[in-house]
């Protein structure tokens, strides 16, 4: 084999092994997390990055022909399809879970979420269960008092 063949073999194998590593990370995340909305975060990674890396490796192996064009079409289709299916799955989980507050904080409308973010801007995404126990009026009063003083 010439030097070009060796470069093609090494680069394609690197992309293929990278895709397999991404798939393994996805599998680890699926078994590591305890709730489905966290598991979805790990599972969406393999749908886009894992299969894109694997198919780019196969495109490099295949060369420039019609097969590689169709492999590229699969990657582009999955980039559009994977966020939609993740969104639909998250809607299924939120719509059918009876006690969603046991797993994550739930803001019923946008004003409550904005009040919680304004009140504690650093801890809004960090501490679970910090702002969910206050009702909406109390948070609004706290925000007004902070603005006046």
């Amino acid at each position: 084999m010439g030097i070009f063949e060796w470069i093609r073999l090494i680069v394609g194998s690197a992309f293929l092994i990278g895709g397999l590593v991404i798939f393994f990370t996805e599998l680890f995340g699926i078994f590591h997390f305890h709730y489905v909305l966290n598991r979805m975060h790990a599972a969406a990674m393999g749908d886009t990055l894992g299969i894109a890396s694997c198919l780019i490796g196969l495109i490099i192996f295949s060369g420039l022909n019609f097969t590689s064009l169709k492999l590229l079409l699969i990657i582009i289709f999955l980039w559009f399809a994977s966020p939609v299916s993740s969104h639909v799955l998250a809607r299924l989980e939120v719509a059918t879970n009876e006690n969603l507050e046991a797993h994550c904080r739930v803001y019923t409308d946008l004003a409550t979420l904005e009040n919680a973010v304004v009140e504690e801007p650093s801890q809004a995404g960090a501490a679970p269960g910090a702002g969910s126990d206050l009702p909406a009026q109390e948070q609004e009063q706290n925000t007004k008092g902070g603005a006046l003083s």
Partner: protein, 110 residues
Amino acid sequence: MLYHYIYLTVLIILAVMIFACLIRAVRGPRIADRLVAVNMMGTMVMVMIAVLALMLDEGYLVDVCLVYAMISFLAVVILSKVYIGIYEENRHTDNGSDQEGKGGISDGNF
């Protein structure tokens, strides 16, 4: 011949990962867990079909892979919509069966 062994190794690793996904799909406590695992299995099967297309040097298997991607996406969307509809219907029949009557499957968010 070297490429053949590379494809064979990738296929074996992907088969083991698909079995691990199947364990998650069986053990998943909620139905969204199972759907996530089935979606992952579909992604890995797509890579397997694409590897087979290059290993056997059959170009039409890539078309099979593209159709598989579309059907896998469609299956996840349809199954979640159907399950939301079934859940809403069960809740309607549990809560107010006398005053509500029967809300069909189209009564939910369908």
